[in-house]
């Protein structure tokens, strides 16, 4: 019998089960977009009937990194920019675990930009939520990789000389198999997108616009927003890489012109995940690696013995 008896329990799960008994109230500022992520994530997990104990929520550093203090599940608050490596390992070792990684735009697109690119490339089966408030919020509003060109802050007092990165395009080019953008001001769409992303078998990237009313005074509230799937002006095939790329570029450009476009931008449902590829070539066992931990009779291999140092 599996040691992971919380996985696949298949029962009715109430949203409130994801609210911890300790510290149920988040300490984010009033009006913070992060509340929207928390709400949508609780709603999505309950909608999917996930047991809090079959979920691992891995976070980076920043206001967003406290998400798992306020979300009741297994939680791992990692170091800056490193939520993805921890999430990847957990998922590879226990593929039936529901793994969600989360962090801010500075954490994910700056500090851990390399992990973002390569986790997308390798198509690790997980959901990655990037809280995008276009600044570093926890440390009081410094310029981040998504701050608009010319954005003034303590670190760029004469205005940022750098063009912001294009998160959706970056995800697509790197190899993400599901790419979406949503906004904290639209919790219903956010929950729907989270449900799709969690159900997607592969790397699902959500650029989640989270307004920071305290430290990003230029911050838009990201209203009015447009759902590109519900507006006839934006007709594109999200399974087509070329059309998706064009739509993403338009979306990224228009954000700085005051037009907030959200929705699903790319979906490639059939690409095998990294874990599937590794099991296919026999480099990962069919039975979850994590099961070995509780197997008293397991004959442990030493990594050293697997090396042929002078081949």
């Amino acid at each position: 019998m599996s040691a992971f008896n919380a996985i696949g329990s298949d029962r009715e799960v109430e949203r409130k089960e994801f609210t911890p008994g300790i510290e149920p109230q988040a300490t984010w500022c009033p009006g913070c977009g992060d509340f929207g992520v928390l709400k949508a994530l609780k709603g999505a997990m309950a909608e999917l009937g996930r047991d809090p104990e079959e979920v691992l929520l891995v976070t980076g550093i920043g206001c967003s990194g406290k998400l798992n203090s306020y979300f009741e599940s297994y939680g791992f608050h990692t170091i800056h920019g490193r939520s993805l490596p921890v999430a990847r390992a957990a998922k590879l070792a226990n593929p039936d675990l529901e793994v969600v990684a989360a962090g801010g735009d500075g954490d994910g697109y700056g500090i851990g930009g390399n992990h973002f690119m390569h986790t997308a490339r390798e198509n690790h089966d997980m959901t990655y939520i990037v809280f995008n408030n276009e600044i570093f919020g926890l440390t009081k509003g410094q310029t981040s990789p998504t701050s608009p060109k010319g954005h003034e802050s303590k670190t760029q007092p004469h205005g940022s000389a750098k063009s912001p990165i294009r998160p959706l395009s970056l995800a697509l080019t790197s190899g993400a198999s599901y790419v979406a953008r949503t906004a904290a001001v639209n919790p219903n769409q956010a929950q729907e997108i989270l449900v799709e992303a969690i159900e997607h078998d592969g790397f699902a990237h959500i650029d989640f616009l989270t307004q920071c009313p305290t430290w990003n005074k230029d911050a838009k509230q990201y209203v009015p927003y447009i759902d590109v799937q519900q507006n006839d002006d934006y007709d594109f095939d999200r399974s087509d890489r070329g059309e998706a790329a064009e739509m993403m570029q338009r979306t990224e450009r228009s954000l700085y012109e005051g037009e907030v476009l959200t929705g699903r931008f790319y979906h490639e449902p059939d690409r095998p995940s990294y874990g599937e590829e590794k099991r296919e070539v026999g480099e990962m066992p069919e039975e979850p690696l994590a099961e070995q931990y509780h197997d008293d009779d397991y004959e442990w291999e030493r990594s050293y013995d697997l090396l042929d140092t002078h081949k």
Binding site: G21, G75, H294
Partner: protein, 261 residues
């Protein structure tokens, strides 16, 4: 390099030669059977054994009594197990894993982490040693202490010195933290003088030995090399002879005589 058959290698504790591979663990510890079945209090990184009532932030030391004997190491659950939920964070946190800047909690948690060092050393001391003693002659008066990649070079030099009639042995230290205090103390107490051979300009390893043991400074000479090339056995031989006859060491090395602690 001479063959190993020409010298006897023994561990500082007196057992026989270093095995080709360390022993492999035969089984994993079973998960604790007393994980709580309720989830009202996260059985976190530290308190799976505590009752939920005793682990609130206001009584942050509450669970230390039940945790005194665990070496500072928490029981481990793996995500996906019923009743094993935890929150891990690198920020200082309560036993439940929630971030806390409370000073009492901070002291208790840091002291708990420090206990791991003692527990790890204790456990390692109960196993086959990681240090390598090279002792071609019995009752050597001189010792050479080294670590890292010049260990083999030092052992070759010790063989040459012994063949020349010097009463010398060496200890290659592979565990630097937690430091193998007992083994290194035994080695240094057994000799009159020792040469610490290392490849840097500031005698870092000798400094570490003095910091960890707080003594032996007066008998620790240094042989340093920092020209970018590895030690040659001949340089170690010459460095050692500097102790005996006061001659200059090889020009590629620097000899620093013992000076005290």
């Amino acid at each position: 390099m001479s063959t190993s058959s020409t010298r006897a290698r023994a561990t500082p504790t007196g057992s026989s030669s270093r095995p080709a591979t360390p022993p492999r663990p035969t089984s994993r510890p079973a998960p604790p059977s007393n994980w709580p079945t309720t989830t009202s209090c996260r059985p976190s990184c530290c308190t799976i054994r505590s009752s939920p009532a005793s682990c609130g932030p206001s009584t942050s030391r509450c669970s230390t009594a039940s945790r005194d004997d665990d070496g500072g190491v928490s029981p481990r659950s793996i995500p996906g197990q019923q009743g094993g939920r935890f929150l891990a964070t690198g920020n200082e946190h309560t036993p439940e894993g929630h971030i806390s800047e409370d000073t009492d909690n901070r002291v208790a948690q840091l002291e708990r982490r420090l206990r791991k060092l003692e527990a790890i050393r204790e456990e390692l001391d109960g196993r086959e040693t990681h240090q390598t003693l090279c002792e071609p002659v019995e009752d050597a008066d001189y010792g050479i202490l080294t670590f890292g990649s010049q260990q083999g070079t030092v052992e070759e030099a010790v063989d040459r010195l012994a063949a020349d009639g010097h009463a010398v042995k060496s200890l290659g230290v592979s565990a630097l933290m937690p430091f193998p205090e007992a083994e290194v103390t035994t080695f240094l107490e057994s000799v009159d003088e020792a040469l610490v051979v290392e490849m840097n300009g500031s005698a870092q390893f000798r400094g570490l030995v003095q910091k960890e043991l707080g003594r032996f400074g007066p008998k620790l000479h240094s042989l340093l090399k920092y020209n970018g090339n590895p030690f040659e056995p001949g340089e170690v031989v010459e460095g050692f002879e500097t102790i005996i006859d006061g001659d200059e060491p090889a020009p590629t090395t620097r000899f620093v005589p013992a000076a005290g602690d």
